[in-house]
């Protein structure tokens, strides 16, 4: 029984941190949970949903079917499970059937945001990115506070190389969550990819802010090193600014080296040998 508890903890950790370890989740299901569905207690339904999505992700449709069946037994009219069912059809590449289910849900309940999001995901799965963007923009006009949607929109824009629009989405995300170092770093990444002196200057500021929020963020540190060197190499920088920039570059390099010297060599060798396979 103790291993069941351990596994439940593991699943909870995955849920809370948004980790998509679908194969691990289905493994856990096969090992312990499938024979103990009734012992899960309060978390039963949420675990079933999690396993169902993971199983769909791994194309283990039998497991997914079982989960959906279990859930339908208790909530015969729930739209949340209808969405799971549509995801099942999606994995089976039966997109029309999936869309039909989603459309039904939206027709019945126009405020159901999850179903609308799935429709956008289907557009994405079919490779129609521009259509997905259009739908997502429409969606955001209604549900403006949906952080996930803003994030998804920025990713879609990046895949279409529309960096300035992607940057706008990340700005919106920063407004929602100003203490998140990852968003500052992301914004800087986008600005840096955009290029141009002004954007690199902006990127540097955001990398610095990200590093300030979380001194463990080595990507931000390296980003500020890269942007500062880029600024140094440009012609426009005047003498005084140049001196300061040189100092910053030196400091960044020193800090990065220090951080890498703290990592054990054996760990690096291990990951390198993993690469060679």
């Amino acid at each position: 029984m103790s291993s069941l508890k351990e596994n439940m903890e593991k699943l909870k950790l995955y849920r809370e941190h948004n980790i998509r370890y679908s194969r691990e989740i289905t493994q856990v299901w096969n090992e312990t949970i499938s024979s103990n569905i009734d012992n899960l207690g309060k978390e039963k339904h949420i675990i079933l949903e999690q396993v169902c999505i993971a199983a769909i992700d791994c194309y283990q449709l039998k497991i997914a079917e079982k989960c959906i069946h279990e859930l339908y037994k208790e909530f015969p009219n729930s739209s949340r499970i209808r969405i799971l069912e549509s995801m099942y059809h999606e994995a089976d590449e039966n997109f029309n059937r999936a869309l039909q289910i989603l459309n039904d849900i939206v027709k019945k309940d126009i405020t159901n945001s999850a179903a609308r999001k799935r429709k956008i995901a289907i557009c994405k799965a079919l490779g129609r990115n521009t259509e997905a963007i259009k739908e997502l923009v429409e969606y955001l006009k209604i549900f403006m506070a949906d952080v996930e949607a803003w994030q998804e929109l920025s990713e879609l824009y990046i895949s279409e190389h529309e960096y300035s629009k992607a940057a706008f989405c990340v700005e919106e995300l920063i407004l929602h969550n100003p203490h998140n170092h990852l968003l500052h770093q992301r914004y800087a990444d986008i600005r840096y990819s955009q290029g141009g002196m002004e954007n690199i200057e902006l990127a540097r500021t955001y990398y610095n802010q990200s590093y300030k929020l979380n001194p463990k963020n080595i990507r931000a540190l390296y980003g500020s090193y890269l942007t500062t060197t880029a600024l140094l190499n440009s012609q426009k920088v005047s003498g005084k600014k140049k001196d300061a920039a040189v100092k910053v570059v030196d400091w960044c390099l020193k800090e990065i080296k220090k951080r890498y010297s703290e990592v054990k060599v054996s760990e690096i060798e291990e990951s390198l040998s993993a690469l060679e396979i």
């Binding site: 948004n18 998509r20 992700d57 283990q60 590449e93 079919l126 170092h181 990852l182 770093q185 463990k216």
Partner: protein, 114 residues
């Protein structure tokens, strides 16, 4: 740190003691009223009992309430990485290699080839 039985009982004892002090204070007031005396101050023993039980309760609550959070607003996010942060469950798509890689699919595929 999970709350142990000892901490819970400390908290209970604290509350009982505080309740007792309050009851004694009420008793003292009714004693004064019966003897037609004016209220000047609480007797010292009730006062001390109240203070001590307050401290006991404070200690108990601190132990029972669980771990404190870091005061920095970004502390929770420090160990998050972009890989998990960018992963958005409601926009999962399933048109990826997962299906082809899964054991079931590969098995049936092999059988077909054979």
């Amino acid at each position: 740190m999970p709350a142990t039985f000892i901490h819970r009982s400390i908290l209970t004892v604290g509350f009982l003691s505080l309740f007792h002090a309050a009851y004694s204070a009420a008793q003292h007031r009714s004693y004064l009223r019966l003897n037609d005396l004016d209220f000047t101050h609480l007797p010292l023993d009730i006062f001390i009992q109240t203070l001590i039980s307050l401290f006991i309760i404070m200690y108990g609550v601190l132990q029972v309430a669980g771990d404190f959070k870091e005061i920095k607003a970004s502390a929770d996010l420090e160990d998050r990485t972009w890989e998990t942060y960018r992963n958005i469950p409601s926009f999962y798509t399933f048109s990826h290699r997962g299906g082809k890689c899964s054991q079931l699919a590969s098995k049936s595929g092999l059988e077909e080839i054979e």
